[in-house]
């Protein structure tokens, strides 16, 4: 039996390495966000202005960063950086009702939460805090598990995609 702490650290290290490579997507912001990626481990990342966590110890991390636990399968611009929040759309956009739903593990309380990735629609791209993580993402032929669709397809205002939210809708385990 392996030491569970070693196992956990190894897993974190692996996740971190993966996230760092994804950060390159963000170009010049990479270095700054690399610091932010350590948020799940430390209350305040080194070299960054402290921001309030979403919900204290039970909801650790910064919703304006890609590494925030609820973003485990998000693909797009984070609404928290665009005038909205992790659960609400920025002013003047429409929340697409139709979306896809997945689970993310909350390191704050050890539970797996059911997360609904509703897109906000009707304006051009927010263009801030681009984030692509693909935990349990599946190809386009499994639409209900794919983050490669523009989920503004279900909005009344049209398919113009602005940003993505990650709302808790249930607790899986």
């Amino acid at each position: 039996m392996r030491n569970p702490v070693d196992h956990l650290m190894e897993r974190w290290a692996r996740d971190m390495a993966r996230r760092v490579s994804r950060r390159r997507f963000l170009g010049g912001l990479g270095a700054l966000l690399f610091g932010a990626a350590t948020v799940p481990l430390l209350p305040v990342a080194r070299g960054e202005t402290p921001r309030p966590a979403a919900g204290g110890a039970a909801d650790p991390g910064d919703p304006q960063t890609c590494g925030y636990w609820r973003h485990c399968a998000i693909d797009g611009f984070l609404c928290s950086c665009c005038g909205g929040s992790v659960q609400s759309c920025p002013p003047g956009t429409e929340a697409s009702a139709v979306t896809w739903v997945g689970t993310c593990h909350n390191p704050g309380d050890g539970h797996d939460y059911i997360v609904s990735y509703n897109d906000c629609c009707g304006k051009t791209e927010c263009g801030r805090c681009l984030c692509n993580r693909n935990e349990d993402d599946k190809p386009l032929y499994m639409p209900f598990k794919s983050n490669d669709y523009n989920w503004c397809v279900g909005s009344k205002v049209g398919i113009a995609y602005h940003c993505s939210t990650a709302r808790i809708v249930g607790v899986a385990k």
Binding site: R24, E125, L130, E135, Y141, A160, Y161
Partner: protein, 379 residues
């Protein structure tokens, strides 16, 4: 003194005028030759930071020169360039107020010499808005019908008759996504249960038959990416975990799954080598070589770009070459001539890199190609 200086300057000016060699210029608009160059490539920019502004850059891989551009609307995937030449088809979406108002979807037909619209076919405003995929829009093998994947979220395929330049109709593909041509009157779509929907068309472009194959892969355990390439009568799909799945087109237009083969050895898999990217496979048909973007990342890195391109011989399934990319790439394409070039680009930058396939050497980069260049299409 002053007069002398003025005189000298005047003399100099007259001498300059007399020496002027450049002709007066009438202005005009450039044209392209009727035949595309063998080393040309269309760099399709889905423009993820400005989705209404899709575009496609035509680049000459030998000189690194940009030759022209097409402006292609909202949530652009890629141009469809028929081998028969003369025209280019582009499925496009527009809103009457840019990002709002009435949505109109069209297939714009451009001529290849002037890169100007020749006409358009209005289609139902349903074309899927997705991460750019080659299988979002394809031609049947005889290039008569253009097939476009729709998602509303109901799934269907729009059929356009390219000869009559008319919308023919829509084929229900519920449960199945994207379009992979298998002949002059047939295609398949990939289904969520690991089966394929095989569709045959009649000469009017209407569905003549629709059948589901048995389950050919396990979409939950080890899904195939949608980014397959076609080698003659065989479609090749890589799974997330690095297994190649050849799907052979049978004579009746059916599909037969052939023996799968591993892209990676057990030690390579243990070192987390996987394929990844947006257009992560390419093929050189004459030599039967398969090119794949690879990286070390392990599970769930199926969209990550890679800094290496590995090459397999399709007959022996042996890895025969490794090309180290100068920059990470998410999309690759190979020209089909005898001295092929390998093109690579990434949505993380707006640069196209060009490599010589035979030597694996980096040749040049072409900078400034839009915002998030995605799919590479060779004319």
């Amino acid at each position: 003194m002053k007069r002398a200086l003025a005189g000298a300057l005047l003399a100099l000016g007259l001498a300059r005028a007399a020496l002027a060699q450049l002709p007066l210029e009438p202005g005009g608009v450039a044209q392209l030759p009727a035949q595309p160059g063998v080393h040309w490539v269309w760099v399709n920019d889905f423009s993820f930071f400005a989705l209404p502004d899709g575009k496609a850059f035509l680049v000459d891989g030998d000189s690194g020169r940009m030759l022209g551009l097409l402006s292609t609307g909202y949530s652009f995937d890629a141009l469809v360039v028929p081998h028969s030449g003369g025209v280019i088809y582009s499925p496009e979406t527009y809103f009457s107020r840019g990002t709002r108002g009435t949505r109109t979807d069209v297939v714009t037909i451009y001529d290849t010499v002037h890169l100007a619209p020749l006409g358009e076919v209005k289609i139902p405003p349903k074309r899927a808005s997705i991460m750019a995929m080659m299988a979002g829009q394809v031609l049947t093998d005889d290039e008569r019908f253009l097939l476009i994947y729709n998602y509303t979220p109901a799934q269907s395929v729009t059929v356009v008759d390219t000869r009559a330049r008319k919308f023919v109709g829509e084929i229900d593909t519920a449960g199945c996504a994207l379009v992979y041509p298998t002949g002059p009157r047939s295609f398949f779509s990939l289904c969520g249960d690991g089966s394929l929907l095989v569709v045959t068309l009649n000469d009017q472009g209407r569905a003549a038959s629709r059948t589901r194959t048995k389950e050919l892969f396990d979409g939950l355990r080890d899904p195939l990416t949608e980014k397959g390439v076609r080698a003659g009568d065989t479609w090749l799909f890589a799974s997330f975990e690095g297994t190649m799945h050849p799907l052979k087109i049978t004579r009746g237009g059916g599909i037969e799954a052939q023996a799968t083969w591993p892209l990676f050895s057990a030690p390579e898999l243990a070192q987390h080598w996987r394929t990844g990217g947006l257009q992560h496979l390419a093929l050189h048909a004459a030599t039967g070589r398969l090119y794949a973007i690879v990286h070390r990342g392990g599970a769930e890195t199926h969209k990550d770009p890679g800094a290496d391109v590995w090459v397999w011989d399709l007959a022996s399934h042996r890895k025969v070459q490794q090309i180290s990319a100068r920059n990470k790439v998410a999309s690759i394409q190979v020209t089909q001539d005898a001295r092929p070039l390998l093109f690579g680009c990434s949505f993380e930058s707006n640069r196209l890199d060009v490599y010589d396939v035979a030597s694996g050497h980096y040749l040049r980069s072409v900078e400034g190609l839009g915002i998030t260049p995605g799919l590479l299409v060779t004319p």
